[in-house]
Amino acid sequence: RTLRAGKLTERVLKLFIATGKDEVFSLIQALNIQVTVTPVLPTRALRPDLTSFMNEWRTIFSRFHLIIVKDPDLKEELKIPEGFNLDVYKKPDIDRVVGTSTSTIFSGYSCRYFGYLVSRKKYIISVDDDCYPVKDNKGILVDAVAQHITNLTTPATPFFFNTLYDPFTEGADFVRGYPFSLRSGVQCALSCGLWLNLADYDAPTQALKPEERNSRYVDAVLTVPARTLMPISGINIAFNREVIGPALLPSLRLGGEGKFRWETMEDIWSGMCVKVVCDHLGLGVKTGMPYVWRNDRGDAIASLRKEWEGVKLMEEVVPFFQSVRLSREATTTEDCVAEVANVVKEQLGSKDPMFARAAKAMVDWVKLWKSVGSSTSSPGA
């Protein structure tokens, strides 16, 4: 109950533990609230004033370690409220860790990848700074972090579709006709959340339906079947960094990439890579809850005036990823990413220099991950 009310802080948790009651221990275990395995929240700061964002999320975020990465192109100082356990990385820090020539890959929305790179925790939860917590159909504040953790720590079922959605959720199970040999599932590597209010639509769709808001709260989590691709939005995701870390990468950069979500494709590209890698390694990807409330921002029509490459791009990108097959020798995430990069270079590189650049960026990213991602680092003063 305390958890639901958003009131469980580390202090309260320690009080519960001090009671020594067995039910409390098993409850804490079941909910996986462990002080040692806490998620990290790299929050991409595109606007300097994070006060309202952080305060809205305070009850949910405050027990975790946060990583805030400031877009290197952002000139103003960040305003961050007190009371959080956090590390902030700005341009000088990024330069110091990866070098000034490399730090350009972290501009705009891609700054979040720097957070993924330097984190040392097992799970990462990544939320855009224009998103706020929602209330579910019963009016209870949704702990998006807890839901993502639940998704990541329960098995995924990519090989056969369960018509009652996530069979591991309370009140549900595998339906008649679901093979028993597939009921233990596989490890879930990625959890993709959704958005109420402003859904993640592209610019043409938003321009066409400027008043449309997503008000449908779909009470489900489901595994995206193996070999099925989908657009993985970077707005509200979580992943197991130990298992799949290197596969989330900044590599595709649109020529006209801008500072609004619908002017980027980097997360969609990254998501395709992740799904292909997960399918190859037998890992699961879930989609559905948790929802976040995404605030209105920007003018989609203004974005349409820019030449919209992203739309044309997907026509090439999707069939390409659908056809990618990785070799049996690719048994680690790094190997898989390197192989995908190779295929990108061979098959797409000649079609557009952007793809050739993306392929190189992927190879560089794997190298960077190996050198920086595995060693310790700390932010500058």
Partner: protein
Amino acid sequence: MAEPATATQAAAPVVALLKDELDIVIPTIRNLDFLEMWRPFFQPYHLIIVQDGDPSKTIKVPEGFDYELYNRNDINRILGPKASCISFKDSACRCFGYMVSKKKYIFTIDDDCFVAKDPSGKAINALEQHIKNLLSSSTPFFFNTLYDPFREGADFVRGYPFSLREGVPTAASHGLWLNIPDYDAPTQLVKPLERNTRYVDAVLTIPKGTLFPMCGMNLAFNRELIGPAMYFGLMGDGQPIGRYDDMWAGWCTKVICDHLGLGVKTGLPYIFHSKASNPFVNLRKEYKGIYWQEEIIPFFQQAVLPKDCTTVQKCYIELAKQVKEKLSKVDPYFDKLADAMVTWIEAWDELNPTGPVPNGKAA
């Protein structure tokens, strides 16, 4: 916590969509009292009642419904020797209803399924939702994270290729169940009290290449697009297996839909499933199926249909051939089933001489 709806009269539609193009097929062995509750939603439609079990028993149909009723004697009379493909003493006999129908769409429902309520308390017109699902496109080639993009208030998300946004025709609409969920016997034995109270407000297309367990309790399909694939197999009396009729039809249907570029949707509408069947009886029926499905699933997952299979019937005959080749070694039952699959197609073509248009494209 879930209860069936009672105020269905208030929710009756002003216009009954497709009322001359859709048949409601209901298998029954006892009575059709449940139709009273569905009356405001079903009355405009024609019913095909398939009476299983003792043909000398009279099934009373509530007043005011337009229906045709077939018992075992009728099935034998109409199909002659081909009647051997229609199951006896099992609700699988319902597929006879699909065969004799002359309509474009079929909705089938079990006689222990009642009208459910949505979270606002409103009675759910399941038939109307199925029709909406069937009349709007499916999107099997790329997953839309906001589920059915053709629903009001939803759309394709960023990153969804525009060339795939038209979608493909929807061949089948698979609805779900509140209250008693469709669990197998082992799960029922472990969780006898579990009730499905979660209303998931979504319809989604099952992606191409992905199989699913199709339940026949609350199902609708486009008979012209996929009818011949909806054979519910050999179950019940004289057969080693039961409760796998709809599963079998679902696997065949999905493989053929994937091959022909048709869509299958799942999710809404919900009905209220009131009767929990006896798990011990179920276990006896399903027992072999639970073992066999470990072989059957990989078979369907790997099944490839040749390019010249351009109609549902051709696809189905080809599948029957592959069943005989690859599954007979699991049990001689599959040899019989493969033969029955061919008989079914022959019977279908005899009763439906013009047949559906090739390539699954609606006429």
